[in-house]
């Protein structure tokens, strides 16, 4: 079972909807919870025990934290110290499960990880930390905590939601509204369009280039790398469309994970638009705690004494930034490529931070406007290289192969070789992928301008509305990359 399969959107989801709608309002949450665990069982079978264990740990930690805070028996520093110990125990236990299943392979022990462990573990930590910080109250109902951690649409690939944002809607058992049903399915269709028409269509090109880059000229490798960036965006954002659409059907507003990332102005802006919920999680639970930590403050003070405030103001954010990107890299997996990927962005964003003011001054002297076309163009080119090189190392089987690809692009680019290259897809597929990608980009431009296409379509006459959605469905049926000659590719981010 996976979100991009029709079994999910045409059998599993409608079945859950039907049972949910038939159940009395106060028991609807139990239908969702049962669906969550059935969904998990269908993919990870016995490993459901891990999800259950994480849920119990999270719930108990939250309850104990809540009890210690509310009982009033200890106060002040003692309370903080006790809460810290409880929090540390809770985090160590859930994080321990993640380490066992995901990172022991570094030592040659390879275990099949439960699906979505990387995502729901981050949710367990955010819940426990929010209770510790008193930004939310510890949940008394175990079912509510369990629902929050296991909601089936977001189980495999996120988005990483916060308890305060979704728990109430999940538990409320409101009936399915027609508008939510229609809008939810429309979003699912859009997700399938991205996945089946673009991501799966160009997947063979990407696989061929990354699996045997030695056989390709630098220009062909560059095309393979660009295609991977597109594939990843189409696939991950497409999956998020399916996930968010599924949530919307049940009246659960899941957070957006993408906001037109290719229109970003810088690498840091890109990460505010790409995998948004991971970035937000790292900001709240790594960046702030690290930058406010006493040892970091001490270092800042020392630097201030030696080099002054202009240098010291960068110290705490830079140290925190380092841990953010280290965490980002490690979260993606146990591999040097992921670590490099994290450090790559750390260096780039660090440079962006320290060069921001000098660059602004330089532009002022040169009388160049930030919003002028030349600056926009240069910014776009810079980001294009940053993002694609980053994704190249992210996807490369090993770090040395990543450098090998980069070296080949720099030393034997040979543009003419491109026309002689076998990418494993025919001309029709290339044309279709380009056209569909252009459609997605047009939609992104409209979204960037704040125009909601779904709302526009919804305001049209029935014949126009239905005609549009029939056309969209038929595009997927006829032009989708499935069946003979194609391979349906598993969701990339479900593996993280």
């Amino acid at each position: 079972m996976s979100y991009h399969l029709l079994t999910y959107s045409l059998i599993f989801l409608p079945a859950v909807m039907l049972l949910y709608q038939l159940a009395p309002e106060k028991y609807r949450w139990s239908v969702l919870l049962a669906a969550d665990y059935v969904f998990f069982w269908m993919i990870s079978k016995k490993l459901i025990i891990c999800l259950l264990a994480s849920t119990v740990i999270t719930y108990v930690t939250g309850r104990v934290l809540g009890f210690v805070t509310e009982s009033g028996k200890v106060k002040g520093k003692k309370l903080t110290a006790r809460k810290r110990i409880i929090l540390a125990c809770g985090i160590c236990l859930t994080l321990g499960l993640l380490i066992v299943y995901k990172y022991l392979r570094v030592f040659g022990i390879s275990l099949i990880a439960p699906i979505g462990i990387s995502y729901y573990t981050l949710q367990t930590i955010s819940y426990m930390m929010d209770v510790y910080r008193c930004t939310i109250k510890a949940e008394k109902k175990f079912a509510k905590t369990a629902l929050y951690l296991s909601f089936f649409p977001q189980l495999m690939e996120g988005p990483i939601s916060r308890f305060s944002d979704v728990a109430e809607a999940l538990y409320s058992g409101k009936q399915i509204e027609f508008e939510n049903l229609v809008f939810g399915y429309q979003r699912i269709i859009w997700g399938l369009f991205k996945k089946m028409l673009i991501a799966d269509r160009i997947a063979p090109m990407v696989g061929k280039v990354f699996n045997s880059y030695e056989s390709y000229a630098g220009s062909a490798i560059a095309i393979g790398v660009i295609c991977f960036t597109i594939q990843l965006y189409m696939e991950f954002s497409g999956c998020m469309d399916i996930v968010i659409g599924s949530g919307q059907i049940f009246g659960v507003k899941l957070p957006e994970n993408f906001r037109q990332p290719f229109f970003a102005k810088s690498a840091s802006d890109f990460w505010r638009r790409w995998h948004i919920t991971l970035g937000a999680w790292l900001k709240d639970y790594v960046f702030y705690p690290v930058s406010l930590a006493k040892p970091v403050k001490k270092i800042g003070k020392k630097v201030k004494g030696i080099w002054g405030i202009n240098v010291s103001k960068f110290v705490a954010p830079t140290i925190a930034l380092f841990f953010v990107w280290l965490s980002n890299g490690i979260w993606h997996g146990a591999g040097w490529t992921y670590l490099f990927y994290g450090m790559y962005y750390f260096v780039i964003i660090f440079l962006e931070n320290i060069l921001e003011n000098p660059a602004a001054k330089l532009m002022e002297r040169m009388k160049l406007s930030q919003e002028g076309m030349p600056v926009k163009l240069l910014r776009g080119i810079k980001l294009f290289f940053i993002v694609n090189i980053g994704e190249m190392f992210f996807r490369a089987p090993t770090l040395s192969q990543g450098f090998g690809m980069l070296g080949r692009m720099l030393t034997s680019f040979n543009l003419s070789a491109l026309f002689e290259t076998n990418f494993g897809v025919d001309g029709y597929d290339i044309i279709l992928a380009v056209v569909c990608f252009a459609i997605v980009m047009v939609v992104d431009v409209l979204h960037e301008k704040g125009i909601s296409i779904r709302q526009r379509i919804a305001s049209q006459r029935l014949a126009v509305r239905w005609g549009f959605w029939y056309a969209a469905i038929l595009c997927i049926v006829i032009f989708g990359a499935y069946g003979a000659g194609y391979t349906v590719v598993d969701m990339i981010y479900a593996a993280y």
Binding site: L5, L6, T7, L10, I11, F178, N211, S212, E214, S215, E420, T421, N422, G424, D426, G427, Y428, I431, W466, W469, Y470, I473, L474, V477, I478, F479, G480, Y482, G483, A484, G485, Y486, V488
Partner: protein, 319 residues
């Protein structure tokens, strides 16, 4: 009232969609005995581009086949002409369709069928992990044959050679190396892993087709620890004995001398270029010694082959 109105809308939408898909299914209905029509058409275009009656050996099968046999090397070493008509995950129904087309313009003396495809689904049924998609593909041709859109209007993009940048006569050159370290895999046994009924049926049809066109059918298993076993070897041996067909299992031929640390591209699934050179040399020698194949190297009518060999120099075919 509102609920029933919305309910009617939902039913109406789905009914409309059903009618449209049924209508389109009429347009997308076709010869159901071909599975991957685009690969078949592509391969047909390639073989049709060859000069008539110039190919003496045709290789069929899946990726195991097109990764293992290099016609240009066989031409260089032994002088006979051959063409690899293998396609990715080729099913026997597609093998039959390709061969049927090939016999219209070529008169091969030998048809070599690589055996890995005998353990695939041989018929044109849809296989999909998505059970809904499988159901729809079975009952609505628009799902099963949707990629036929590429052939509407006769196809506006030229086919032929589209799988290859260079003209390697169907061989796909792969240079990467991922070693196989699993050790011996051909463990002797009397057990046979039978084919499906469809496979037996198509094997008989292919044999009959070859006989009708005076071509000898032979089966070959290329070295592949990931795909081959003694059980499979036994099943093929049983069939070839019953049908008086030649069979060479390169997994048991020590003369091929495959080094699994250097000769496979993906940990024992496919041979890479180094492995292919060894398999090609062995098969070239076998074919030349066992069938009356002609040495065309000094024949001016085959200058195009010489040109192909020269053009492929970049990939060190001679090494």
């Amino acid at each position: 009232m509102k609920i029933s109105k919305n309910f009617i809308k939902v039913i109406g939408f789905w009914l409309g969609l059903f009618v449209i898909l049924e209508g389109l299914s009429l347009a997308f209905n076709r010869d159901k005995n071909i599975y991957d029509i685009n690969s078949v058409k592509c391969k047909e275009a390639e073989i049709n581009a060859e000069a008539d009656n110039t190919i003496e050996v045709i290789f069929c099968g899946d990726s195991e086949c097109y990764s293992s046999f290099c016609p240009l090397q066989m031409y260089q070493e032994f002088g006979f002409t051959s063409y690899v008509c293998a396609t990715s995950a080729q099913r026997l129904c597609d093998t039959y369709a390709i061969l049927d087309n090939t016999f219209k313009s070529q008169s091969p003396k030998v048809v070599v069928l690589e055996t890995n495809c005998l353990y695939r689904n041989s018929a044109s049924d849809c296989e999909d992990e998505d059970s809904v998609m499988k159901f729809l593909s079975k009952h609505m041709p628009v799902f099963a044959y949707h990629s036929d859109w590429k052939n509407l209007g006769g196809g506006f993009i030229e086919r032929g050679r589209s799988m290859q940048g260079q003209d390697f006569k169907g061989f796909v050159l792969r240079k990467s190396v991922i070693p196989y370290t699993g050790g011996a895999y051909m463990n002797k046994t009397d057990i046979a892993e039978d084919f499906s009924d469809d496979t037996y049926e198509y094997l008989d049809k292919i044999l009959k087709l070859c006989q009708e066109h005076n071509a000898k059918l032979m089966l070959v298993s290329v070295p592949s620890p990931k795909n081959w076993s003694y059980e499979r070897h036994n099943a093929v041996t049983e069939w070839v004995k019953m049908n008086d067909v030649a069979y060479v299992d390169l997994n048991l031929e020590h003369n091929v001398d495959i080094d699994w640390l250097t000769d496979t591209k993906d940990g024992g699934d496919h041979l890479n270029f180094v492995g292919a050179k060894k398999a090609t040399h062995f098969m070239g020698e076998y074919l030349f010694n066992n069938y009356a194949l002609s040495d065309r190297r000094k024949n001016p009518d085959f200058k195009a082959w010489e040109d192909c060999v020269s053009a492929s120099g970049e990939f060190s075919l001679k090494d």
